[in-house]
């Protein structure tokens, strides 16, 4: 969806347009995305982490761009694949909004678009982690209908604890079982922490 979505006015002055990421435009957007995300991280991700997501699930990445200058104001990065639990699981890996543009609903809009796309692609559930102390992030996701499913002690490298948040998109998701002989693509229970919490501002 939304490749040619009309600019959405966000507040009185700032005009933004929301666009889907395209691999062909990596040379334009990858650096700003990296800068925006890593700003709030205690330890940076290598370029491979970004490419891991953007090259496989670029269509699940949405950007908020300045309506006039095309400067990056916000971004959400996701993936969608079969999880070892047997569900087709969407995962919100990173979310960030430029500091001066926070509190205007940009993050919510980006997340909504990503979820809509994953829903259209038959996702059973959407999953993410966020710091227990990041009330703004918790509020954002809980307003969208996410519930806390687990508390993860010292989940992040900085020693902070996280909540795992989940949103079911389909009935029967909770009873899904792994396919016979299926071994998940990931190592361990989850992807290693990719700090969406710290990346999302208070």
């Amino acid at each position: 969806m939304s490749k040619d979505q009309k600019p959405l006015p966000v507040d009185g002055k700032a005009k933004l347009r929301y666009v889907q990421y395209e691999l062909e435009k990596e040379h334009i957007f990858l650096d700003p995305i990296r800068q925006l995300i890593s700003k709030d991280l205690s330890e940076p991700y290598s370029i491979y982490v970004y490419r891991y997501f953007l090259n496989q699930w670029g269509d699940l990445c949405y950007m908020a761009l300045d309506g006039d200058t095309d400067e990056l104001r916000g971004v959400v990065v996701c993936k969608l694949e079969e999880h070892r639990s047997g569900t087709f699981r969407g995962y919100i890996a990173m979310l960030a909004v430029v500091e001066e543009f926070r509190g205007k609903g940009i993050a919510t809009e980006l997340v909504k678009m990503a979820i809509e796309t994953m829903k259209a692609r038959d996702a059973d559930e959407i999953v993410l982690e966020t710091e227990v102390s990041n009330t703004a992030s918790l509020r954002l996701y809980e307003r969208l209908g996410f519930l806390r499913s687990k508390r993860l002690h010292r989940y992040y490298l900085n020693g902070n604890t996280a909540f795992r948040l989940i949103l079911y998109l389909k009935e029967g998701t909770g009873s899904k079982k792994p396919r016979e002989g299926y071994v998940g693509p990931e190592y361990g229970d989850q992807a290693p922490p990719v700090e969406p919490g710290p990346a999302f501002p208070p």
């Binding site: 982490v49 490419r51 209908g145 519930l147 806390r148 508390r151 079911y168 029967g172």
Partner: protein, 713 residues
């Protein structure tokens, strides 16, 4: 191939996972490339570890090392903590066979004097040895009996030593001798005539730190005869803490003796990460708490394996400690427990069966285990052999399955977050055990013993399953998992679980009363079990009442529009799917099946939609609130009777303090619930609902973290 690809095209290997991408490094990025240097930056620091130090600087370094040590205990890697010290790095940089080889400077000529080469050196060696002991204890706790599933806790502790040995081969005695020598040096320095002004307290402060280190080594030391540190040793350690704390201000920091650059020399692909900054104040608090926790943890050996419910109560009490004990104290608790082998855990399970259900029962008569297996299949097997065999099959399969009996203990020894998650595995294992294993074995047992409760193994398993499910929900309140708009529904479900437990207990009790009426041998054990089950029954009845009260209260507040429901306008909101997600841990459970959504939904919206109720809420208020009052009173009376039955009936001897505090906190929650109901009534009677404040207290601010009583203003 490369010629056919346009420049900039990315080649991705199918096997390149997210895990690998996170571990991948970028050359020339200062935060990732361990060899990257900023203009003018040197690869290593120039720090002369043989330079003479002032006594004040010795204190400063010792205290900074203590901060590093506590950060390591807190879970940060050695590389970012102790291994950032030039002194520690030097001592560990060569392999040493005995303590004399461990030097800051090889050869006879030693610059810097005794304060560096005797005092600081001995302190550092002692400190590294303490880390070795901690690491050993933590490894033993992980390797011990019954490691079945990935119940490891890498989030709590970083055991990586980067290929360095932490003086494992150096004897404790030689290290303590070196520390005594250090003490002597300090005493001699202090006795020098005439002592410079104000130096005496400085030397005394160094001495305290050396003595503390000796006591800590003694407390952490574990060998064959003394396979556990005693609680007195930890009291001795604690005794040195105040003096250390009070003299911290005498120290002079030497920040240049620490550097994150040392990480470049470690066997690690990871680039240097920032040093962990922990203030002395915080480090000291953690140390103080660690000593208290260790002192409590080592009591595990007093509990032994004789009384299973008591042992479990002790594990619960330790797990409930706030702030949460660090990995090392938890290892002091679990290493002796998991030193127990499979046979030990089978015995533990048999005792569990005995204490809960089969006291002094022919099914568990030790004689049954003395019969040989029948020689041929034709021969009539000895019934008592058959019975023992059935019980053995039950215990063996239970301890060997993932999430099984041993993992229940593993869960109780993990951190609080993992406890709840691991209990979800325990429930599934109990479920599987109950549906696949216990019934055929029970049929054998029923056939052979007509005096015992029927289906004992299934009953025990079912009861254990219900108990675990109840804990999972209760821990959900404690860990702040449930949102305010879920509280009514979760207390509704908790009430169902408590009720199910109560009905099982009510089924068991009459069979035991029969045993007292028609005694076969001593009835002491039977009486003990009866008291225990009665205590549990009272607790479950009271739990049901209080859960019902809170369910009703939150439902009512919901109709008054006082409970936020932020998601209801979301395009993704779906009440049924939320319910399914919330009940996920229990969806596969039989016997106490998750109620259908319709039933749940009807219960929490008994007056119709919250925005347009089918009744006038005001008109039903007096009766509705007085019903809640009644429930609260029942709960209070129930918990009071649990308290009256006492700690012995509850099989919590040994943790009286914890048990009493727990019961009193729940009683306080009942009082708070009563007050909340009156406050609501008052507001509504005065038509002040609009201005009524409802605060859902967060964990830690409640009388009891399992009971979220709203604060009404």
């Amino acid at each position: 191939m490369s010629q056919e690809l346009p420049i900039g095209t990315l080649v991705k290997d199918e096997q390149f996972t997210l895990f690998e991408s996170v571990g991948a490094l970028e050359i020339m990025d200062p935060k990732m490339d361990s060899g990257f240097l900023a203009p003018g930056e040197t690869l290593e620091d120039e720090y002369d570890i043989t330079r003479p130090l002032l006594p004040e600087e010795i204190i400063g370094i010792m205290d900074q090392l203590l901060c590093c040590e506590m950060s390591w205990h807190e879970g940060y890697p050695l590389a970012q903590t102790l291994f950032t010290s030039h002194y520690i790095d030097k001592l560990l940089s060569t392999e040493s066979k005995n303590i004399d080889d461990i030097q800051f400077e090889q050869g006879h000529e030693q610059h810097g004097g005794d304060l560096v080469h005797v005092v600081l050196r001995a302190y550092c060696i002692g400190l590294i040895k303490c880390c070795d002991y901690a690491l050993d204890e933590i490894n033993r706790s992980l390797e011990g009996g019954g490691t079945r599933v990935n119940f490891y806790e890498e989030e709590d502790f970083s055991g990586h030593t980067y290929g360095r040995e932490l003086f494992t081969g150096i004897s404790k005695d030689s290290i303590i001798a070196a520390l005594y020598e250090a003490e002597e040096v300090i005493e001699n320095e202090a006795a020098k005539d005439p002592p410079p002004d104000g130096i005496a307290p400085v030397y005394a402060a160094i001495k305290t730190r050396i003595e503390f280190r000796i006591e800590l080594l003694l407390a952490m030391f574990t060998d064959e005869q003394h396979s556990y540190p005693l609680d007195e040793s930890w009291m001795n350690v604690s005794a040195y803490l105040p003096d250390q704390y009070n003299t911290h201000h005498l120290g002079k920091a030497v920040p240049e003796s620490f550097s994150p650059k040392i990480q470049r020399r470690l066997a690690s692909t990871v680039p240097p990460k920032p040093m962990v900054e922990l203030s002395y104040e915080d480090a000291f608090k953690k140390l103080q708490q660690m000593c208290l926790d260790c002192r409590e943890a080592v009591r595990i050996v007093d509990f032994g394996l004789e009384h299973v419910q008591r042992l479990k109560a002790f594990l619960w009490s330790f797990n409930s400690r706030k702030p949460e004990p660090l990995s090392y104290p938890r290892a002091c608790l679990s290493a002796p427990l998991f030193g127990c082998d499979d046979v030990g855990f089978e015995q533990l399970l048999r005792r569990d069966l005995e204490e809960v259900l089969l006291p002094n029962d022919p099914i568990l008569d030790p004689v049954n285990w003395t019969f040989e297996a029948p020689q041929s299949q034709v021969a009539n097997p000895e019934p008592r052999y058959e019975m023992a065999n059935a019980v053995n099959r039950f215990t063996q399969s239970s301890i060997h399955m993932a999430g099984g009996y041993i993992d229940l203990y593993r869960s109780l020894c993990s951190n609080r977050c993992r406890l709840r998650r691991n209990l979800c595995h325990v429930v599934l294992a109990l479920e599987e055990h109950q549906t696949r294993e216990t019934e055929p074995l029970d049929e054998i047992i029923n056939h052979l013993s007509n005096t015992s409760p029927s289906f004992p193994l299934s009953t025990w398993t079912y009861l254990a399953k219900l108990q675990t499910m109840t804990w999972i929900v209760q821990l959900g309140f404690e860990l702040d998992i449930y949102l305010p708009d879920e509280l009514a529904g979760m207390y509704w479900y908790l009430s169902l679980l408590a009720q199910s437990q109560a009905s099982v207990l009510k089924l068991i009790l009459p069979t035991l009363h029969q045993r007292v009426i028609r005694p076969q041998g001593s009835t002491t054990q039977v009486h003990t079990t009866i008291s225990y089950l009665e205590s549990r029954l009272a607790e479950m009845n009271a739990t049901k009442s209080l859960a019902d009260a809170l369910f009703s209260l939150y439902t009512y507040l919901r109709y008054l529009n006082k409970i936020p429901d932020p998601a209801s306008n979301s395009p993704f909101y779906n009440a049924q799917q939320r319910y399914e997600l919330r009940m996920k841990p229990f969806l596969d459970v039989t016997g106490a099946t998750v109620p259908p959504f319709a039933e749940y939904s009807e219960s929490i919206t008994l007056f119709g939609p919250y925005s347009s109720p089918t009744v006038n809420i005001r008109s039903i208020t007096p009766e509705y609130l007085s019903n809640i009052d009644t429930l609260v009173k029942e709960a209070k009376a129930g918990f009071a009777s649990v308290k009256k039955m006492g700690v012995k009936a509850a099989m919590c001897e040994g943790v009286e303090g914890w048990w009493m505090k727990n019961v009193n906190s729940v009683l306080a929650s009942c009082v708070a619930a009563g007050i909340a109901v009156s406050a609501v009534r008052g507001r509504v009677e005065r038509s002040e609902e609009e201005v009524m404040g409802v605060e859902v207290l967060e964990p830690g601010k409640r009388y009891h973290d399992w009971w979220v009583v709203p604060k009404i203003s």
